[in-house]
């Protein structure tokens, strides 16, 4: 097992309960692991939530963390995967002065080439949305910075795995 640090995406399926976020984040805190990003949302199963957590650590340690997460009463199952085993995206929003859209023809090209989407335009500003890999967002940010960005924000990673995560089957065994 690799003892080198690498990026892992952790998927945690849980009951939808108040307080679990605290319990899960405390596990990382105790081991001094910095969470790169964290996203929580409903999952494909009704009433079941999914946490997607990105961390950089060794495989030996992530196994231990997964064990601690699964130990929590309301956690149904936790998995970890490397980047090759997942399909993942993040999303970014850029707020930019409206006048630039007309005065700087370059910007129009950047938008087109980066496949970004204009979400809204008004007299003061327009908002660009771009989903993709982190590097694509970093590149876009760099290109737009030249003109000035009023606000920028990026979401946590969301991911699905290439291999199946058999939560429904697992829940069935719990129900019996």
């Amino acid at each position: 097992m690799s003892t080198e640090k690498q990026f892992f995406t952790i998927s945690v399926y849980t009951e939808n309960n108040i307080g679990l976020l605290n319990r899960i984040s405390a596990i990382f805190q105790r081991r001094h692991v910095n969470i790169e990003s964290l996203n929580t949302s409903p999952s494909e199963i009704e009433g079941v939530s999914k946490f997607t957590i990105v961390v950089s650590m060794t495989e030996v340690n992530i196994k231990k963390i997964i064990g601690q997460i699964e130990k929590q009463v309301e956690v149904i199952k936790a998995y970890y995967h490397n980047d090759d085993e997942t399909i993942y995206q993040i999303s970014g929003l850029f707020k930019i002065k409206s006048e630039l859209l007309f005065e700087e023809p370059q910007i129009q090209n950047i938008i087109k080439e980066s496949y970004a989407r204009i979400v809204t335009v008004n007299t003061n500003f327009f908002v660009l949305e771009k989903s993709g890999r982190k590097q694509e967002l970093v590149d876009l940010h760099e290109k737009l910075s030249v003109f000035g960005i009023m606000q920028y924000t990026r979401s946590g990673r969301i991911a699905v795995t290439k291999e199946e995560m058999k939560i429904s089957t697992l829940l069935e065994t719990y129900n019996n």
């Binding site: 009951e15 307080g19 605290n22 309301e74 956690v75």
Partner: protein, 577 residues
């Protein structure tokens, strides 16, 4: 552990009744067969106390003198009975005072349910008087916790709490209940919880792992068992004894594993770890198969990890999958309940005696006896030793007493020398090492097992951390025997200062009060012993007393506990002096 949904017929047949949330809380406790609870009242839990007044004949509430005392008493109760201990407190300071005991119960896997009152729900989050986020505060130290803001949710929350606390690897849970939920009326009915979706208290045992473990044990030339509290928690004592006797394996215990088999059992080779016995520590690094049963390789047990039993194949019997490979890499992990696993492996293992290997333990014991034990329990030089006091208690109790120790040198000495014939007899704070644990824990133990002799052993330091519980002893007429080994020092810290900080005794010397007068102030019979000649008679008088009894023994001021594995050293570098 039963995990099927079995409708509790009796309760589900009962017609529902309209009662208040606070009455429901008490009724839930009755449904869970709780007869004793420990606690302290206050504004946010008063409705519950009012109901306890009404149900006095069913539930005995013990007013401790501090909420920490309530949790430790509940722990002592749980540890000796194997049942869930219950502690209750009001919101804010009452709730935060529970935390030390909860943390202690969490790391020592003690089943406990704590119920706290909370400010009315419309005030939550407003910094109201005595509001504190106890759910947030207790999250890292509970197995599970929740807040209830509606009366109708109380029965399910408490049923779940009891189930989680006692099932699988036991632990503390906390249920925080707002005051409005305590007042609100609803249609009460109770159904015991037998399952929580997503929670697997006992992992499935893989038959292959049992076979693999048996094969390793059968092929071993120098097998060695280290067992922990898991053996006691799963009530696997008989199966455990059968396995080690059949295979002839020398076996040592972690501090919380003590008493699972009798001290004098020929295969019981003593305690492992920092102040453990010489032979098991040294031979850990010589065995070829290390069989860990219901223990978690705490660093006080393993010493330097990368030099711990590296030559051995490791088998780990464990109920909590996250403990496997956490500290020590295993070759075979047998997941599951220790009792079931040991019963399953028994027919697969061969009879053996490992005479030569066992002799090695005996030889090293002889060295330890000459260098340490003899001087500890039969000293000839001036100054009473802690060891001779424990020895005297052994003589009077004949190994039948439950020994509840606090934390420090006296704890290590008590665990090393106390004699146990019965399981669940060594009650001490292992993982957290909580000073102040001993006295209140002894109260809980005595109340859970009134027929047993319960002896609490504390140092002068830890004793003063919860000394107020003498009031509880007096009020409850709990016939606890309280021994304080007074060395006028925070002995264990002083020992480290002596050995590793050039004898710079910074803030470890204690000027102590008149302990006898304090005990007498609480109307408890008391005696102080300063000379060897007085010891035997005083211990005898204490043990024969039908009531609580306080005995202070002034021991040598700078006695040390050996053997010792200095922290960070390898267990085989254990020092005898």
């Amino acid at each position: 552990m039963e995990t099927q949904t079995i409708k509790n017929k009796e309760t589900s047949k009962k017609a529902t009744e309209r009662i208040s949330g606070s009455e429901a809380i008490v009724r839930c406790l009755i449904e869970e067969d709780i007869k004793i609870i420990y606690g302290y009242p206050g504004g946010a839990i008063m409705p519950v106390y009012d109901e306890l007044y009404k149900y006095q004949d069913k539930i005995h509430h013990v007013l401790t003198r501090h909420e920490q005392g309530a949790t430790h008493s509940a722990q002592g109760f749980a540890r000796i009975s194997g049942k869930v201990g219950v502690a209750i407190a009001t919101s804010g300071p009452g709730a935060t005072n529970l935390i030390t005991g909860i943390a202690d119960a969490q790391i020592d896997s003690t089943p406990m349910v704590c119920i706290t009152g909370q400010v009315p729900s419309h005030l939550l989050g407003s910094d109201a008087f005595q509001e504190t986020d106890i759910v947030g505060i207790s999250t890292p130290v509970t197995k599970w916790n929740c807040q209830v803001t509606k009366a109708a949710d109380i029965p399910a929350a408490l049923a779940k709490a009891f189930y989680i606390a006692r099932s699988g690897r036991p632990g503390p849970v906390l249920v925080d209940i707002t005051k409005d939920a305590q007042f609100e009326e609803f249609d009460f009915s109770y159904e015991k919880c037998t399952k929580v979706r997503s929670y697997v208290p006992v992992p499935k045992t893989n038959v292959k792992s049992i076979e693999a473990a048996a094969k390793l044990i059968n092929e071993a030339k120098k097998p060695f068992v280290v067992w922990g509290q898991g053996v006691i928690l799963s009530e696997a004592e008989e199966a455990f004894k059968a396995v080690i006797e059949k295979a002839g394996i020398p076996s040592a215990w972690t501090i919380l594993g003590a008493s699972a088999i009798p001290t004098k059992h020929p295969l019981n080779v003593g305690m492992v770890g920092m102040h453990g016995n010489y032979a098991p520590n040294v031979l850990t690094n010589e065995c070829d198969v290390l069989i860990a049963i219901g223990m978690r390789f705490d660093d006080r047990v393993t010493g330097k990890l990368d030099e711990y039993a590296t030559q051995a194949k490791v088998i780990h019997f464990e109920i909590d999958p996250s403990e496997v490979d956490k500290n020590v890499k295993t070759d075979v992990a047998v997941l599951g309940d220790a009792k079931a696993s040991l019963e399953a492996i028994l027919p697969l293992i061969n009879e053996n005696s490992h005479t030569e290997w066992c002799q090695k333990f005996a030889d090293l014991y002889a060295i330890e006896y000459e260098k340490v034990i003899k001087n500890d329990i039969h000293p000839t030089k001036e100054g009473l030793t802690m060891g001779e006091v424990i020895n005297q208690i052994n003589i009077e109790s004949k190994g039948e007493a439950a020994i509840v120790s606090d934390v420090g040198q006296h704890q290590m000495i008590a665990c090393r020398y106390a004699e146990f014939n019965k399981t669940k007899s060594n009650i001490t704070s292992g993982g957290l090492g909580t000073m102040g644990f001993g006295l209140p824990a002894a109260i809980g133990a005595k109340m859970a097992a009134p027929d047993r002799e319960v002896v609490s052993i504390s140092g002068d330091g830890g004793y003063q951390m919860t000394i107020q519980e003498l009031g509880t002893i007096f009020q409850q007429k709990a016939a606890v025997k309280v021994v304080v080994l007074n060395n006028e020092f925070l002995g264990m810290v002083r020992q480290w200062q002596q050995l590793f900080f050039d004898k710079r005794y910074a803030s470890t010397e204690m000027t102590n009060p008149n302990f006898v007068a304090i005990a007498e102030g609480y109307y408890i019979k008391a005696k102080k012993v300063t000379k060897r000649e007085e010891l035997a008679a005083a211990v005898k008088e204490m043990m024969e007393s039908k009531e609580a009894y306080f005995l202070e023994v002034c021991v040598e001021k700078e006695g040390n506990v050996f053997p010792m594995v200095p922290s960070g050293a390898s267990v085989s570098d254990v020092r005898l002096e």
